[in-house]
Amino acid sequence: MFKDRTSQILLAALVILLVAGPFAPRWAMFLLNVSLSWGVVVLGMMLLMRTGLVSFGQGLYYCLGAYAAGVLHSKYAVSDIAIMLLASIATAGLVAAVLGLLLAKYRDIFFAMLSLAFSMILFGLLVRSSELGSTDGFGLSVSTFAGMALPEGWDRYAVFASAVVATFVSAWAIHRYLNSHLGRLAGAIRDNELRVEYMGASVRRVIHLNYVISAVLAGLGGGLVAITIGHVDPEMAFWTTSGEFVFIAILSGTGNVLAPFLGATIFETVRSYAYEILPNWWQIVLGVTMLLVIMFLPGGLWSIFVRGRKAT
């Protein structure tokens, strides 16, 4: 099961991060925690991009996942990490299963626009719902994992470990999926969906499936960010959040499941420093980087690693 290189790297990263976690300084753990959560969202984005679709509305599921965890805490007094994350996944997955019925018919900018409209609908609803804190959102906290109380001082590590395990499971599952018969259809659909239909596969069903998977990952990422930061707000569904996911996905490239995590870590690290040192240059850096990647590195950062080797 772990014979190929990507799986081995994933497994090694899982062990190293879990062991090194308790010894890492708090800021590093936090930074890595947020990066991995964003990486999970971008992993879903990458799956969509492999299918030839760019969504400007992944914020919808990211926000739903976060609010699902938040509402459990604030309305139902649940503060169990496992239950919260399951709720994030379930909420995002259910909504995507329904919206996917519609979106699977759309391509190109129309897919981008309709997904944008859906996420802005959620934004518009949350901004006006005073019960859920309107534009300010609300806070949440965690105290147990699957019923087990977290020992004093270990709650941050529990969140971090959850993110690491969730990252490992999703990355590894997507890695296996992409190499399966069904997963390989994604690239074929991007290249020429008419031919895929002639071969007897249902393009709509594959797109629907990939859409739901990407939404589940975005929901999971949102839930992880919610329990990491301890706060949720409607900005998570605003289109600029989705734009940042698009940015990281372009930067990372779609070549390998490790790429989104690499991209997200670079993004979060540069952002946390850029905000302090040059607050008004951050987006210029982003924009210029994005243009350079589009023009000179269409395969994203990941293509640097596979240069000279045959891309899979």
Binding site: F56, A112, L114, G243, N280, W281, I284, G287, M290, L291
Partner: protein, 298 residues
């Protein structure tokens, strides 16, 4: 009954504003097939430039009526500088790429311009209230409206009629229509397509900046307005059908009326209603209300 009158008047004012911010976007898409995310930034730049030029004019002690000319001058200046720089400096290397990639390219431009405007104008809110306060108020149907709203309505009618006339009655307009219909064939017939693109993008940029410049007197100009406006403009042009002038007008009226209705009748759903209509139209007519059917290419 009166309430419906207010809704209609509010709707007309809001629709006019929406049309001005969206018309440049649909023009650029129609001709160049670029869904220009940076259109929101041009709006913001127009608004910022209007506060600077207008503020300078007032500070010089010039006749305050001239500040209207300053708003328009600001829009033209922004469009004439930013349009050619973006088109010649960047977009022309991107033609032929997929539409989605072009969205990403203009999104990158959007990000760059966001920070550029912060670097030039700072992050504090700016304002240019004179053109707004100067005109006073107007009573209509028992309610008091700022006269400046009438200026916006008139401006949007002028812009819409002028564009429609140029497109249908002039030689340049015919050339533009030829390019919209078939770029390669027009090039083969001797039309200088790259010049048409440059002019179109510049005109679109001026229109975007004009939207900002005309809005500047009514809002406080600060970071974030570009991101708010571009999604609204998207909603308007997507509802009407991308690239269609009539579509943009219809989209503006629909969004404007729906929002005015929501504000009066059901304020909780104000923001939500706009995007709900956008999603509903995309679901019923995936390419918008005025879309031209396209053959499926293999």
């Amino acid at each position: 009954m009166d309430q419906y009158l207010f809704i209609i008047v509010d709707g007309v004012i809001y629709s006019s504003w929406l049309f001005i911010i969206a018309v440049g976007l649909t023009l650029i898409y129609g001709v160049m097939k670029i869904l220009n995310v940076a259109h929101g930034s041009l709006y913001a730049l127009g608004a910022y430039a209007a506060t600077s030029l207008g503020g300078y004019w007032i500070a010089q002690g010039q006749p305050p009526m001239g500040s209207y000319a300053m708003l328009i001058l600001a829009a033209i200046l922004v469009g004439l500088i930013a349009g050619p720089v973006i088109e010649r400096g960047l977009l022309r290397f991107m033609y032929g790429k997929e539409e989605v990639v072009l969205v990403l390219v203009t999104y990158a431009v959007f990000l760059i311009l966001e920070d550029l405007s912060k670097l030039v104008w700072g992050v504090d809110p700016l304002s240019i209230p004179e053109p707004y306060s100067l005109l006073g108020n107007l009573e209509f149907g028992g309610l008091i409206y700022p006269t400046y709203s009438l200026v916006v309505v008139l401006a949007s009618i002028v812009v819409g009629v002028a564009l429609a006339l140029v497109l249908s009655r002039t030689r340049q307009g015919k050339i533009l229509q030829a390019v919209i219909h078939d770029r390669e064939m027009s090039a083969a017939m001797g039309i200088n397509v790259s010049r048409v693109y440059l002019v179109t993008f510049t005109v679109g940029a001026i229109l975007g900046a004009l939207g900002g410049a005309l809005t500047a007197p009514t809002i406080s100009v600060q970071p974030g307005i570009a991101a708010d406006v571009i999604v609204l403009a998207f909603a308007v042009v997507v509802i009407g059908g991308l690239g269609s002038l009539g579509g943009a007008a219809l989209g503006a009226v629909i969004v404007g009326m729906v929002r005015a209705w929501a504000v009066h009748k059901w304020p909780e759903v104000e923001l939500f209603s706009v995007y709900a209509v956008m999603a509903a139209v995309l679901i019923m007519r995936p390419k918008g209300l005025f879309a031209i059917p396209e053959a499926r290419k293999i």
